[in-house]
C-alpha cells in the first residue's frame, strides 16, 4: 500500500516533475530527431542574427585574439526603425565606433582622427548576408550540445567550413534571447583564433540617446568625412568584376561611394557565401600611392585585407575570411570595357 507523499517529498517530486516538464517544453523531439532535422541549428543562427540586429542591448565582452584579451562595450538600439550602436574599447586603444542611422563615425584617438562615413539613406540597414541553401553546401551547421554557460541555457552550434576559403564558428546561443553569449572563430583546422565572450549583458526596453555619445575628447583631431551624395554608378566607364570566385561566393551588392578624406569615387563590390562576406574596393591608383609596395596584406584581428594594383587601379579586398581568400578574390578583379558601339558583330 502506497502511503501518501509527505509535503517535503512532494516538493522534491514537484521540482523534479516540473523540471521534466520544462525540459519537455523546451524540446519535444528525441535527440535522434533533433540530429536528423538539420534546419534547426540554422534556425538558431537566424534567430541569433535577428537578436543581434533588432534587439536593444548593452553589454561588455572580452575579445581574444593573438594571445591578447581586451574588453569592449557594445550598446545597440533599434528605435523607430533607426539603428544606433556604440562599440568602444574599454582598455588600450580608446577607439570608438558609433553608428547613428546612416552615419558611421570612427574615433581613432591614437591617430587623432575622426572618420565620418555617411551611407546612402536608402541603403537597407539589414542588408547582411542571409543564410541560404547555398550556405549549407559550404558549411556544416550542427547543434552539438545544449549546455549551460554562466547560468544560462545555451545551444552550442558549430559552423564548420567545408573548405579552406572560409572560417568556422562555434557559437553559444542563449536559449531564451538567442544572443550569442560566446563566439569562437576557428581556422580550417578547427583551432580557435578569435573568441568573444560576454561578461555582462542587459537587454532593456529603453536606451537613452546619451548612451551613444563618445567618451573620447576630439579637441585638435582631424575630421575626415565623405561626400554625402555618392557619385552615380553610371559615371564609371569601366565595370569591374571578379573573373572567378571561391566556391559558394556570389556578388551581393555593388555601389559607388567616396571614402572619408578622399574625393575620388570608389567602386565597392560585396561578395558573400551567406555567412562570410568580402568587400572589394576599386579606385584609380593615386600618384602618391605609386611608391607603396604592392601587393600588401594586413589583418584586422581574424579578418583579412589585401591590396594590389591591376590596370592602374588599386584593388583592396577586406573580409572575415582567411588571408588567402581575400588575396584570391582581389587578384581576380578585372575591368570589363563595354564593347564600343558599332563594332559589335552581328
Amino acid at each position: 500500500m502506497r502511503r501518501a507523499m509527505s509535503s517535503s517529498e512532494r516538493l522534491v517530486a514537484l521540482t523534479l516533475a516540473w523540471a521534466v516538464a520544462g525540459a519537455a517544453l523546451a524540446d519535444e523531439r528525441t535527440p535522434a530527431q533533433k540530429m536528423a532535422h538539420e534546419s534547426a541549428p540554422a534556425q538558431w543562427l537566424e534567430r541569433m542574427n535577428q537578436a543581434l540586429t533588432t534587439r536593444n542591448y548593452d553589454g561588455t565582452f572580452s575579445h581574444w585574439h593573438g594571445g591578447r584579451v581586451e574588453m569592449l562595450r557594445i550598446i545597440h538600439r533599434v528605435q523607430d526603425g533607426t539603428v544606433s550602436e556604440r562599440l568602444a574599447s574599454l582598455d588600450g586603444s580608446g577607439r570608438e565606433f558609433i553608428r547613428s542611422g546612416a552615419s558611421l563615425t570612427c574615433y581613432l584617438p591614437d591617430q587623432r582622427t575622426v572618420l565620418v562615413e555617411q551611407r546612402p539613406p536608402d541603403e537597407s540597414l539589414v542588408g547582411f548576408p542571409a543564410l541560404n541553401d547555398q550556405t549549407a553546401s559550404f558549411y556544416d551547421i550542427r547543434e552539438v550540445s545544449h549546455t549551460r554557460l554562466n547560468r544560462r541555457n545555451t545551444h552550442v552550434i558549430t559552423v564548420s567550413p567545408k573548405d579552406e576559403y572560409r572560417y568556422g564558428y562555434r557559437l553559444w546561443i542563449d536559449d531564451s534571447t538567442a544572443m550569442p553569449l560566446k563566439t569562437q572563430l576557428c581556422d580550417t583546422r578547427g583551432h580557435v583564433i578569435e573568441q568573444i565572450v560576454f561578461a555582462s549583458l542587459t537587454l532593456s526596453a529603453h536606451i537613452p540617446d546619451s548612451a551613444f555619445k563618445p567618451e573620447v575628447s576630439t579637441a585638435g583631431f582631424k575630421w575626415l568625412r565623405n561626400e554625402s551624395a555618392p557619385p552615380a554608378l553610371a559615371a564609371a566607364t569601366q565595370a569591374w568584376n571578379a573573373m572567378r570566385l571561391p566556391p559558394g561566393f556570389r556578388i551581393a551588392a555593388r555601389s559607388a561611394q567616396t571614402l572619408p578624406g578622399s574625393a575620388d569615387p570608389v567602386d565597392h563590390l560585396v561578395f558573400t557565401d551567406g555567412l562570410a562576406s568580402v568587400s572589394v574596393f576599386v579606385e584609380p591608383q593615386r600618384r602618391e600611392q605609386a611608391d607603396q609596395p604592392v601587393p600588401e596584406s594586413a589583418t584586422v584581428g581574424s579578418s583579412s585585407a589585401f591590396s594590389t594594383v591591376i590596370d592602374g587601379h588599386k584593388i583592396t579586398a577586406v573580409g572575415e575570411v582567411p588571408p588567402d581568400t581575400v588575396r584570391f578574390i582581389a587578384n581576380q578583379l578585372k575591368a570589363q570595357e563595354p564593347p564600343p558601339v558599332g563594332s559589335r558583330r552581328p
Binding site: P161, T188, S277, S279
Partner: protein, 209 residues
C-alpha cells in the same frame, strides 16, 4: 512507514548495507519518488550538520541534472565496444546510433576546454592532444586540388595606411553578417589592425597557458 526499508535506506546511504541488499534497494530507489526524496533529505541533513558556508541546501540542482539527462539517449544505447577484464560490468549490445552519440559527447566535452585545439569539423574523430607550442605547420586540405594552404600564424606587416584601412573596414562592416561584423569591428576597435597573430601556447590537454 516501512521501518525496515527506511533503515536499509539509511544504511545504504552510509555505504553500510550488504551488496546484495544494495542491488535490490537501488532498483527501488530509482523508481520510488518518496524513497528518493527521503534519500535526498538524508544528504541535506549531512550537509546541514557540516554547515558548509554558501552551499545552498535547497538547490534545484538535482532536478536540473535530471531534466538534462532525461532528454539524452539511455546510456545502454550509447555504450561502445566492450572492454575486457571488467568483472561486474554487464555490457549491452551497442546500437547503430552509438558511434554518433559518443562522438557528440566527445565534442561537447572538448568544447568546454578554453581555446583548445579541438577540431571543429572533426565530429567523427576522437580528440587529439595539441602539441605544446606547435610551430606553424601548413596543412593542405584533404581533397583540395589547388594547394590552398592556410598558415596558422599569418605573418603580415601593417603596410596599408591605417586611416585607409579604417575606411575600408567601416564601409565593409555594413555588409558583414551580424556576428562576423562584431569580430571585425571589435578587432578594429582594439587596435589590432595589421598586427601579426601570436600563437596561444597549449599544454598537452589543450589548456591555454
Amino acid at each position: 512507514m516501512n521501518e525496515e526499508l527506511d533503515s536499509q535506506l539509511s544504511a545504504m546511504f552510509d555505504d553500510e548495507l550488504a551488496p546484495e541488499e544494495c542491488e535490490l534497494l537501488a532498483r527501488r530507489l530509482s523508481r520510488d519518488e518518496q524513497l528518493k526524496a527521503r534519500w535526498g533529505r538524508y544528504a541535506v541533513v549531512g550537509a546541514a550538520i557540516r554547515s558548509e558556508r554558501g552551499v545552498r541546501l535547497n538547490a534545484p540542482l538535482a532536478g536540473l541534472v535530471s531534466a538534462v539527462i532525461l532528454a539524452e539517449p539511455a546510456l545502454a544505447a550509447a555504450q561502445g565496444a566492450r572492454r575486457t577484464g571488467v568483472r561486474w560490468w554487464q555490457p549491452v549490445a551497442a546500437a547503430a546510433v552509438a558511434a554518433g552519440v559518443a562522438a557528440v559527447s566527445v565534442l561537447w566535452l572538448r568544447a568546454q576546454a578554453p581555446l583548445a585545439g579541438a577540431p571543429l569539423s572533426a565530429h567523427l574523430t576522437a580528440p587529439t592532444a595539441t602539441a605544446p607550442g606547435a610551430a606553424v605547420v601548413p596543412a593542405a586540405a584533404a581533397g583540395a586540388p589547388d594547394s590552398y594552404v592556410v598558415p596558422r600564424a599569418p605573418a603580415v606587416r601593417a603596410v596599408v595606411p591605417s586611416t585607409e584601412l579604417a575606411n575600408y573596414v567601416v564601409a565593409h562592416s555594413v555588409f558583414s553578417s551580424p556576428v562576423t561584423r562584431r569580430n571585425l569591428l571589435s578587432a578594429f576597435m582594439t587596435g589590432e589592425a595589421g598586427s601579426a597573430a601570436e600563437e596561444p601556447r597549449d599544454d598537452a590537454q589543450g589548456n591555454v597557458q
